[in-house]
Every structure is written in C-alpha cells, then in structure tokens.
Symmetry: D2
Subunit: 389 residues, 4 copies
C-alpha cells in the first residue's frame, strides 16, 4: 500500500481500514512523495492520527515542479521503492489512481514480480494522468475501477475480466460514513487553520481547488488568475486550497500569493489540507465547488454538491448531473458559479459507489491473487476481428 | 531515438537510416543501457561503425541483474533521460519494443510532453516484456506495430487508429537487404571472434541464443543447462550467444561458463554479439536456431529458418510455420532440433513485414505529429457495450 | 564553475567576470541546487541578468530539508554532475566554499581526474560546513583561501603550499566596486520587492539573516523565534531574509511565517534574495546586522558594519572588531544590537581581502595546473616529528 | 559498519567479531558495492559463513567502470545509504580505508549527524584512494590509523589527538590468528576453485594481484600485460587474482583473459576471491608476491613475505624491508621477482600492528563518542605560525 498524497489517502483510507481489520490480511503502509512534505501540510500526520503507522517513508520529490523534475522524481521513486519492497517483502502492492509517482510504484512492483493492485483504473480525464492511469492498468494484476463504465474500459484494454471489479471509490465510503450535519462549528474552527479572511459560519461559502494541468505547463499562472477573479466576482466567502505537487504548482501557488498580496482575495481563506471527514462536511454544505479537482465529480455526485469544473483537467471524466463545465475565462466561471448557487443541492447519484468500496477491496484481496505473468485476455482477442475495418 | 541494446539496434537500424536520409527529419541518437557496456560487446561500436554518432550516452545499469536491480536501473534511467531530453530538445522520442529500460524512455518522454513513438507494440509474448510493451503503448502517441494482428491489438487497447501503422519490423529490412549468399567465408572469419571450438565453414551449424525469463528468475540456471545439453546431443557445431542484461543473466552466463569449463561444450563457439548483417547471414543458413530469442520467429519467418523455441519467453508470440515449440527438457529439445534439421528450410513468410519498415516509419514521422494530450479513442468506446456480458 | 546558491554567486562573481575576460581562459557555468529554485527567488535570473549563461542546469534538491534529504540531495548531485562534466569536458572545475552540495562537485571532479579549484578553504566555523570545507580541501588541487590564517591552515592539513594562494574573498571585490553612496532611493525601491511593512528610507534599519544550524537540527524553530523577538524589541524597522536550503530551513521559515501571521513582525520587511550590489549597499548603511550569516563577518569587516552574531554557526570563524557575539536568548540579542547601534560604523579591515580576489584567481588559473594525482605535501611531513608528544 | 568489498572485509573482520562479542556494543552490518556482486565472487557469502548477517544490502555499482561511473556509483550509494541509516538508526558508523564508495558512507553519516569511525586513515599511497582517504578523515570523528606515522599525519591534518588511536590493522590480527602451517593441503584444494592450470602443492608458487590505477585510466591494459609477462618469465606456477571494481578493471580483466586465451598463462591459476585465512596461508608461504595490492606491504610485513610492488599505486605507502619496488616493464618486474625469490622470507615487522587491532577498536568504541560537531584541533593551531615561511 503506497500512499503518496493527501488526495491518495482520502481515496484509499476505508480500504486500508478494512484490510487492517481483515483476519487474513496484514497491512503495510509506505508513505511517500508529497504526503511527507511539510510544504504540503505533512498529510502524513493525519494518517498517523488515524492509527496508521508507515512501515517506510520514501522521499522522492526533486524540487522544481517542472515536467523535467516530475519525470526525475518518478525515477528517484523507482530507485527507492525496490529497496523498500525488498525490505518489507509484501505479498502484493496496492497503488492508487493516477498521479505521476504512481507509475514508480507500479513499475517497481511489476518488475519485482509482486502482484500489483490498482484502484480507479479505466477513467478518462485529461492531463498526463490519463496516460499514467492506463499505463498502470497494463502493469497491474487486479483492478478496482470505481464505475461500471471504467470496469468495461479496463477489460476492453485487454485485462482479464476475472480480476476487474467495480467496487466504487473508497472516497465515497468516507462521505457515506461521515457526520455531514450542521457545518457551523466546523467552519468556526477553521479560522484557527490556514491564513486569510475570517470565516463567518452563518454565511454560505464557496470551495475552490484548482491544480495545474501538466500538459498545459506554462499556462497555469493565467488559469489560476482567471479562476480567482471569477470566484472573487461572486462576492461570497471562499475556502481556497493550495495545489498538489505537480509541474506548474509553483505557478499556481505564486498566482494565489500575488492575488492575496494585492488585496484582491477578499473573503478568501487559504488551506494546505484538511482531514477527509472535515472536507466531506464542507463539500456537503458548500454553495458551490469550483476548480478542477475530481472530488467535485466524485464525492460531489454522492452528496449532490453543485460543482463548476474549469478547463481540461476533468474534461472527459464521467460525472453526474451536479457538474457544470466552463472554459478558463473569469466571466464564464463567475456565470457558472451563479447558476449553480441558484440551483442549490442535487439528488444523490451512486455513479462512483454506494459506500462499501473499502470492504469489497479487502474481501477480494483475501482471495487468491493472480500469477505474476500477465497476458492480454481472450475477451479482447475475440473483439479483434471487429476492430479491423 | 533511444537505443539501449544490440537487439534494439537491429530492430531500428533501417528506420534510423531512413530518418537520417529524409530531407525533413533530423536524427538524434541516445545510446544507453547494455549498448554501451564492454561486458556486452560494446555494441555501440557497431553503431558508430555504421556512421551513427550518439548525441548522448546514458549509463544506467546497476550491477546485480536481479529483479530489484532491473527496477532500480529503470529508475536510474528515468533520472538520467530527462536531462538528456532537456539538452537535446527533440521534437519526438522513438522507443523500441519492450526491454525493461524502454519504460524509462517512455515515461520521461510522456511526462515531458514529448510525442512518444513506439515500435513493435501489440505483440503478445510472456515475461515482464509483455507488461512493459503494453504499458509503453498506453504512454505512446504514434505506434508502429510489426504485424496486422498487433495493429488491431493496439487499437483495441484504446489507441487512436489514425496513429497506429502496421509497417512490419525493421529487422526484416536488414534481412531483405543483406547479402545472404554463401556463408562459408563469413564462418571462417568468425574463428577470430569470440572463444571456443574452431568453426568448420563447410559443415552445418546450429545457432543458440537463450535469454533469462525474468518472471522465472531462479530457474534460469537449470533452463540454460537443459538447452546446452540438448544442443550438445546433436553432436553438431554450434554458435552460442551470451545472454542480454536482465534479471537472471548472471545465472545463464554462469551456466554457460561452467558447461564450457567442464569440457562439455564440444564444437561450441561463444559470441557476445555480431553485426546485424552477419547475424542475418548465419540465420539464413543455419541448420536450426534454438533458444528463446524472438529473432528466430521474426527474421526466421522471412528467411524460412527452422527454429526451436524453448520455454515460455515467446509462448504466445505470433509466428509462422518455421517455428517448433518445446518445454525445457534436454530430451525434447534435442528431438525438436532433430526434426527441424531434417525438415530443412521453409518458405518465406512476410508475417513480420516485407522489408520496407524503415522507410515507412520515416515517412510517417515527417507528417504532423499528434498532440501531447492523449485520450482513449472512440473506436473502443463503441465496443464497450459488447464487452459487458 | 559550479554555482549552487545566491550566496555562492556573490562569493564568486568577480572571479567569473575575470575568467570570462581573460584571453587564455574560457568560462563554463553550471547552475544547480537552490540557485535554480523559484522558492529561493530563482537567483539564476540575477546571474543571467549579469550576462552569464549557464552551460548546464542541475536539479538536485530532494524535498524535505532534513539531514537525510541533505545527504540524498548530495547523492543526486553526484549522479548528475559526472554526466555534465562528461558533456562539457572542462579543463578544471571550480567549487565554492562549504555548502553541502559542494561536496558533490568536489567528488565528481576528483574521481573524474579533473583538477579541482576550491575557494574559501581553511576557515573554521561550526555546523556541518566545517567538515564539508575541509573534506573538499583534501580533494582539491588548487586552493584560494580568503585569509592568511586560512592559507596556513590549508597548508598544515598537508596541501602543497605552491598551490595555496591567499587572494581574499571575491565578495569583498563586489563591495569594493559597489556604489555604496546614499541608500535612500534603494530603500524606497525595496517596497516593491518582498512582503511586509512599508520601509521608510529616511529611518535607520536593521538587517537580519539567520540560517538553520544543521548539527542543531530540531532547535531551529526556537532559535529563530528568539532572534525575531530580540530584533523586535529594538522597535526599529528591519529587513529580514528567508533562510538557505538546509536541514532545518522549513522550521526557520515556519517560525518566520508564524511570527508574521501573529502580527509581531511590526516594521519587518521580508525578502528572498537581492542582487549582491544592492545587498552591499544595505550592509554599508545598516545600523546593525543580526543573525548568523557570514556576510556580516566578511563584507562587514571591509565595510565596518556593526554586526551581532548569534549562536554557534560562525563560532570559530575569524572576524574583525566589528563583530559582537551572543547566545540564543532574545534578551542578550536585543542588548547586543543596542550596543552595536550605539557604537556605529567601524574602521575598514582588510582581513578578508582588498578587493582584487577575482583578478588574482583568474591569473592563477591561467598558469599551468597541478596534476590529478595528489600527495600529502612534504611541508607537513617535516612537522610530523613535532606533533608526536 | 559498512562493508563494501572482500578487501574491506579482511581489514575489519576481527573488529566486527570483537564488537559483536563486546557486552556494551551491538553490531549492525551493511553489505554493499562489490561485496554483493556475483561477478566479484559474492564475497558476502564468506561473510555470512563467518556468522555475520547483513542488516541491509546496498546495490550501488553502476556498470561501466569508467571514472564517470565510479563517481556516479558513489552518488547512487549516497542516495541509498541515508535510507539505510534512517532505518537502522545506528549510534555510530564505521567506514573502512579508502575505496571510492567509502566516501558515500562518510558523507551520509556526517550529514546525518552520526559519529563516523574511520580505519586506516593517514596513509600515503597514490591513486584517487589518496584523496578519498584524507577527505574521509576530515569527515570522521574517531580515527583508527594502522601505523604510528599515520596517526601523526591524521593529527597534523587537524584532528583531535584524543580521538586518533594507532591500533594497527585488523588484517594483521587475521594473520596472527591464522593457522599458517604447511600450505600443501590448502594448495591441493585450490584446484577445485577458480580456473586455469593445475596447481602442484609441492612446488613453490608466486602470488599476483594487480588492480587498475584510477588516475592512470587508459594505461591499465598495458600495465597488466607487462606484469603478466614479467611473472610468466619466471616459469613458476602462479596464483593470479582478478582485479577490484574500479575505473579500469574491465581493461585489467580483459588483459588477463586475452593473455590466457593466447595460451601464455602457463602455470597460471585464476581466482576471484578467497577466504581471508586461506589467503593469509598462501601469503605466508609464497616465494614472492607481485602486483600493487597493499596486502603485500601490510600482512606481508608481519609475515616476512618477499614482495615486488609494481608502479605508482603504493608508491608512497609505508613499508618494511620485505618490499622491493619496480616500474612497469616486464624485464624489471622479472628481475625483481628473481631477487626476492632468491632472498626468501624476511623477519617479522610489526609496523602495521601486533594482532590486537580488532580488540582495541571495540574497546575504544565502547567509550563515550565525541559530539557530531567537529572542529580543527588546537594542536594544529599551535603549529600554524611555523608553517608560515
């Protein structure tokens, strides 16, 4: 189980808990990448507060946050992880979703003949994540996609249907289990965290989370400026998150700092990260979530949160009715937010799971694992004739 | 163009030549991995003798040849290659086939938003190469599979059919262009290369080339012993090649050394590597090729060479009528060789190309390249309904 | 010439200029470590604005800033630099002073049989810099210590006196050449840089620069707090610099941020870095410089700047009369600052050079270099009998 | 305790045993570099057969054996060792002598504030080892030089005399404890090891061990050829060792292989490595040892072995009367061997210790260790005035 970021953690936590609780399974945790960096809020503390002690820590992020350092950091991870796996001798390795460092985990495990378990394969999005996700699928032995469509895509790519299980996304489990009641005391407490304007717990608020798009490196600064301006036009209070470690993060962070230093971030409160349960409560009650984080599509669907998705980062990702797309202009962003605020909450949609993903994953992992040697499955071989025009 | 082994070179040489000759293309060569190691015959000398000067050299092989060092060497390559790409600023990166270090090239290029060109995707084989090949496919932007079936498989995995071209394998070009006439003077000259018994140019000879199977690490020593013994039983002279750098190579090499030191390698002559044209001539005239190298399947099909393929390394790879499969026992190997020697040469089969692969690749690369942002193609989306049972 | 931080650059710039101008010498520049990081003000921009174009960029800082990542970053530098040296083929390599990554440059050059030139050897300080500096001396072939006492120490350590030259410190050249006149317009312009309180150009100001002490990792946060509080007690305006990349920097930076967010940084203006000439002007006119940067001892001696040095980082470093030492308590720090402010400017002291270091370095490098093979010098052999008690 | 080669092991084994046996000390063993490579005889097996189980294995040798890969391998070691130290949490780190990878251990320990213990400092030799050894001295906290002259040199370099202890070399302990009686049965058994001519246990034999000189990279092939030829002229049987991993090893090994394949190695038997006790017995009874290994100078002095030292590798190393130096010509080498064979055994000389080094090291390490913060010692400060001319 290699956990590499706060986002990773939210999407695997209930599976970790279920594995840890399962009589036939033993959990080992490797904490790496931005999870162990102070600059990203040391999300590892949240993990430890939840009772998970990392069996190894992997420091692999080379400073710079350019496409070059993103590749080199993956290389560094791939130098470090084999030693970790040699020491821990796991029976299988779990890797999560599609961040760039995921591929280091996947290659290390596959090359060392360790069965690789992959969650959230088969999704279609944009950014380099798109390629990373499918490459990991081709290295993985057991797949836990989060939707029915994703399950079918993983099989279509040639994976053996017997080892592809649509269990939903563990992040939905968190939301399903969380206390989502009145957020006012939570909001009041937030004033002691992060920096920026005082939050008024009695007023509606926007949530904003925008990450750089690595394939549009160089445009990140403009993009964050437009979104910040669009949000500011609403004149509402806003809870704003710093971006993930990725090529372009420096530009996003800089845009946010400059915007704030210019005094334009009126009513904006800035956070590095929050515990997943607290985040779920904020998501359940926000007037609208804005940006390009997938949590709006995923947990947002289950919670019926009104979401405005900006730009290409989630462009082809499946979503429910709660999501409205826009381009990068401040005007269109502001318009979309207004429409969503006016609409209010949507109906629950179980597109990304019903809240039992973690338990299903643990149960599957307790069954015998497939052999190290993979093969393109026959299901696809049967389709080949039809592909040919 | 990242070339990492003598095998790589044979499978890309005519494309390199065609790119170099094309008025609209400029060729840059990165030489890496075993290509630059004395222990593997410094195949880079062959490349330079052909007039290709490497623009950069990447030293990335960590000693040990275990699954752990195979993963770590890939990591080291992934630390080195981004710097190389940053210096050379290529418009596109070509990576070849499926050896473990190929994935370092693929990840570096994809993360740095450089269009990735992949040759020989879509094949089905065995070993870790199987997973590496398909993972590279999911990172690549333009594909040059070597057979029609492979082309269809790449498309079925979700790649855009507009960028998947069955051009055949450039190694066939070499064979098609080579002077394959009387091998006697070539054989006579071989006595000055390599070590072992004197070669008699007037007698028939076997060719043997057996690499370790990384997913069967630990069994490599037994496997090579059985094959050596099987070959020895024929009592014919044999040209035997040392293995590639891979987890298990040390065991294969050791088995060969011990066999030779015990005096059992009667009539065996050992080589590290040979120029591709010379190898083609030997393949065209051998009484039978034995082992698990794919050249028997590939160039062998075009040349009609009788081939005995041992074990799982090529187990699901497409092949023509010239190939006979066996397990790992010395007896069954000896029987199969006898049968093939008796049969003699087969008819030419253009399964792996007609000898124009290099030219076709250069022509395609001179056309506009697809954008860095990849997407699962619509062709597959249409198939999804049918996959669902 | 490997330049790795803004401090590095200030201490070598005039030598770079003199080498570039010398008819028999060619300058190559490798920019690495914190010099190329946005988080540290991208000091490389200053270097390029001065007309120096880096021939290679080395990204080597692994995030974390713990003793572990400091060691690993040096390892990463040592993986990267040999490739750079192989590409650039320099006749000699210059490395500067004593930051941790300096050792990567020194080891790479020494192992590759490139004559290593080292500036500022033989100084005695504290922190891990102490060991790094002397280890580099033992790998270097030509030494440019900055004081007479340092010259004698380098020789005592067994270096050949013929290759040890006291030229003074190039940072003094900068100060000697700088326009140090009225700082008011410079101060006024500073309001557009950095963040924090408005600077009043007509009032006296303090300069504060405090780096973590790597061998006291864990105490950095307390230490910065005491100094911030000590400075605040003076009630004067203060120009405060963020720390270098080092184990503990995160703690220092955090202390500074928290202090500022608590509203205690009244009259404090924060900077990442400034061009060396501007910094010289500020140093020439400050009421007192506080912290543990060596620039107070070095340029401060030449300029007669009143300096308060806190803690152990400079504890045994040579200094002139302008320096007053204190421990880490806010009270004693405040007292020492008051005493220095009262005293005012000191007389010029040429302890660290007379402003011609850069020219002297270039002239020496144009002479024949010593061979790669080093040897403990005979001068020390003669002393050995006396050492024995 | 980081052990990185078979030579390392022989020079620390008795100290390992004494530490392991000491009631107040706990031994941890890190096995790295060539110690864990099959190509170098997997010396780790000898270590394990002696009852030492490695707590961690570090794979750090990048293939190539050029000065570039030697530097890069050190960098890789410096990426790996901090993780190992973080996991093992040692109270102190012991590093041995002067091979290139030693510096990785030294830097990792020093940067991580772990007291560094260094054996065999203060010696004067040649090759890059010379610089490595003194650089490690400047990073180390406790020193165990092997001779009185070395002790004084370490102190002269500025180390605190209280932490510099002349204990002799642990390799002498092995020799002092070994059964050195009649070698005939040992010689007879050697025929089952290594390759080459049959050894006749009743006849006198030469020992040959020649390593590449890294600062003379490029001349290694010529040098080994001359020595092989010089040895062959004696017409005696010879036990010949393959070289260490170093820049140039490939050339030395190639020279040896070609010499053997040409049939000139008459009476030569080739080994990769031997258990230290067996080697001691061979050294005690050889007619003459030839080459540039330091064991001839060291154990040879204690045993009175006639030794011929070739070239610069040991050129300034202390030695007793048993050593005769020559240049690289086959003629002068043959002459020197003849003279030494004629002379026969020398008197015992305890220059490198009396056989109690291991015990003395363990006893010192059980005492309180010096603090992480080092300082140039006052002993040297007192000498400085005299150094100044």
């Amino acid at each position: 189980m290699v956990v590499a970021s706060r986002a990773n953690y939210a999407r695997i936590k209930t599976a970790m808990r279920a594995i840890d609780d399962h009589p036939d399974l033993e959990l080992q945790v490797v904490a790496g990448a931005s999870l162990v960096l102070e600059r990203f809020g040391n999300a590892i503390d949240v993990l430890e507060a939840d009772g998970f002690r990392p069996d190894a820590i992997v420091r692999m992020i080379i400073e710079g946050e350019t496409p070059t350092t993103m590749a080199k950091s993956t290389g560094l991870g791939l130098l470090e992880l084999p030693t970790v796996f040699e020491n821990l001798q796991p029976d299988a390795v779990v890797t999560i979703a599609d961040r760039f460092e995921t591929l280091a985990t996947a290659v290390a495990a596959a090359y060392m003949n360790l069965p690789l378990i992959h969650t959230q394969g088969g999704e279609v999005s944009g950014s380099i994540d798109e390629s990373v996700r499918h490459a990991v699928t081709k290295l993985a032995h057991v797949h836990f996609p989060a939707t029915e469509l994703s399950r079918r895509r993983v099989i279509a790519m040639g994976e053996d249907a017997a080892h592809v299980h649509n269990v939903g996304c563990p992040s939905i489990d968190l939301v399903a289990q969380a206390d989502l009641g009145d957020p006012r005391s939570a909001l009041a407490e937030l004033n002691a965290r992060g920096v920026g304007a005082e939050i008024d717990p009695d007023k509606p608020y926007l949530l904003m989370m925008q990450h750089p798009v690595t394939t549009e490196y160089g445009e990140s600064l403009d993009q964050i400026n437009e979104t910040l301006e669009g949000v500011a036009r609403l004149g509402m209070q806003a809870l704003v998150f710093w971006p993930n470690v990725d090529a372009g993060s420096d530009h996003v962070a800089k845009g946010m700092r400059v915007f704030r230093d210019r005094g334009e971030a009126k009513g904006f409160h800035f956070f590095r990260n929050l515990p997943p349960e607290l985040f779920a409560k904020l998501l359940a009650h926000t007037a609208c979530m804005v940006g390009n984080s997938s949590s709006g599509l995923r947990e947002g669907a289950f919670l019926g949160t009104p979401v405005v998705t900006v730009g290409t980062r989630q462009q082809n990702r499946e979503h429910a009715r709660n999501v409205l797309r826009t381009g990068h202009g401040a005007d269109e962003i502001a318009d979309a937010i207004r429409e969503q605020v006016r609409n209010g909450r949507y109906e629950r949609d179980e597109l990304f799971g019903d809240g039992t993903a973690g338990l299903q994953i643990a149960e599957q992992l307790a069954l015998p694992l497939p052999p190290a040697q993979k093969q393109l499955s026959y299901a696809v071989e049967d389709l080949l004739a039809e592909v040919s025009e």
